[in-house]
């Protein structure tokens, strides 16, 4: 692992019963790098993210974050933030109670949660129940949850689904203002992947089948891969 690598995945295999979801995946993520992973449904993208974030165990292979195995060093999970379509929040708690819950779990004070809610323009909605939030508000509150832990690697798993175009742009603006971190974006939006990424990988049937570096991709090229 080089100094600039924050994440290294080697020969990652995941089987459910007799079915292989990931078939010996290798992957590296550099410091400050933005990598998008594209691929059809069922390709194994979300399973890959779940294993990298330590919520699912691989059948074999290894995941090292800053050189440490995520299954052995629980504290390394602090360095990884996950923004998914599901928010991980509770519908009958207020926005503040939800953020406070995760803040306390991370050993942070409530003011840290409020600070990040303010950064993402959510301070006026914190007393509302989460069930009353629009999809855009839910995503912004999720961003506050993710960023308050000060993660160095962000895994964005289809975060734009259900957002209207202005919601997508607002979310992208937030991400752009925090590009000092490393990102893995899972998306079906080729346009967003092209705009944001330093590198794009295509996953099909549990393997990375294509890799495009910064000057090698545009929407037409990527569309060609999926045709």
């Amino acid at each position: 692992m080089t100094n600039s690598e924050v994440l290294k995945v080697r020969k990652l295999v995941k089987k459910y019963g007799e079915q292989y979801v990931l078939k010996g995946v290798n992957f590296e993520l550099g410091k400050g790098e933005f990598v998008s992973i594209l691929g059809p449904n069922g390709a194994g993208k979300t399973t890959f993210v779940k294993i990298v974030s330590g919520t699912t165990k691989p059948t074999s292979g290894e995941v090292r974050i800053f050189g440490k195995d995520v299954s052995e060093f629980l504290e390394i999970k602090r360095k990884v933030g996950v923004l998914s379509h599901d928010t991980f929040f509770y519908r009958n708690l207020t926005g503040l109670e939800n953020l406070e819950f995760y803040a306390k779990m991370l050993g942070l004070d409530t003011y840290v949660a409020v600070k990040w809610a303010r950064i993402f323009g959510m301070e006026k909605n914190l007393k509302k129940r989460f069930s009353e939030f629009s999809r855009g508000m839910k995503v912004r509150l999720s961003l506050a949850r993710v960023f308050m832990a000060e993660p160095e690697i962000l895994l964005l798993d289809e975060p734009f689904s259900g957002l209207d175009p202005s919601g997508v742009e607002k979310t992208l603006d937030i991400v752009k203002s925090h590009l000092d971190r490393s990102y893995i974006l899972i998306t079906h939006r080729l346009d967003i992947a092209v705009r944001m990424s330093d590198r794009i990988l295509v996953m099909m049937n549990g393997k990375f089948t294509h890799e495009f570096l910064k000057d090698e991709f545009d929407i037409q090229t990527l569309q060609g891969v999926f045709q």
Binding site: Y16, K50, S53, G54, T55, T56, K57, L74, E75, I76, K77, R78, V80, V82, S84, D86, T87, F88, F89, Y90, R91, N92, L93, E97, F101, Y102, K104, M105, L106, G107
Partner: protein, 223 residues
């Protein structure tokens, strides 16, 4: 930030959610009271020795009511996939088990406190034993029930027919505790049998259940 604090914050979160919605407590209470009333009609006092029947009915009511609680305790973690949010935290995942066990223990204890006097009144039971024996019986039995019930709630989390499957898995496993709890309660009600052998039996099974639950819980979280 340590394991105990994480367990406490999870327990507190469930408590806040329950006080806000009262979904669980209201449902469990109505169900428990209906069960007791139905049994009261099935075994009217005077026909059968009330002390013998009342101890069994008390524990059957608690076990039936418990299955509802155990089903619900983990299903609230699926609504926005918050279970995954908990697993992303830098703590040993067994804090989730312990937080849920504590919450279920509290819920079942509340039901027990309410059901107990109602059973005494409806079945006209006047306990002759020492109250601390009954208290010990209730604590030991509730520990066993909540550990196994919470584990099985987690096991069945991703199954579609969990409401049907939980009683099928739960009742056979919990039989030893229920027999011992019924006998120890009967001892408290009648004073005719020695409760201590049953209490020791329950303590042994609690040890087995707690050990098995802690060992197996990690596997229940696998996809």
């Amino acid at each position: 930030m340590n394991f105990v604090k994480a367990t406490w914050y999870l327990f507190r979160k469930d408590l806040i959610l329950e006080f806000r919605t009262k979904e669980m407590l209201n449902t469990l209470l109505v169900f428990a009271l209906l069960t007791v009333v139905v049994f009261n009609f099935a075994f009217p006092p005077g026909i059968i020795d009330p002390e013998l029947v009342a101890s069994g009915i008390f524990w059957v009511t608690i076990v039936f009511t418990g299955t509802l609680a155990f089903n619900r305790s983990f299903s609230i973690e699926t609504e926005e996939d918050s279970l995954r949010g908990l697993l992303l935290l830098p703590h040993d995942p067994s804090f989730i088990l312990l937080g849920k066990v504590l919450f279920n223990f509290l819920l079942i204890s509340i039901i027990e406190v309410i059901v107990y006097p109602i059973i005494l009144v409806l079945f006209k039971v006047d306990p002759v034993g020492k109250f601390y024996v009954f208290l010990l019986t209730v604590i030991l039995a509730t520990i066993g029930l909540t550990f196994i019930g919470t584990l099985q709630g987690a096991v069945l989390l991703r199954t579609r027919a969990r409401e049907i499957l939980l009683p099928l898995l739960f009742f056979p496993v919990i039989v030893p505790i229920i027999i011992a709890a019924t006998k120890a309660t009967e001892a408290f009600f009648t004073g005719k049998i020695d409760p201590w052998s049953w209490l020791k039996f329950m303590a042994l099974f609690d040890f087995i259940y707690i050990s098995a639950t802690i060992f197996l819980f990690e596997y229940t979280l696998e996809d």
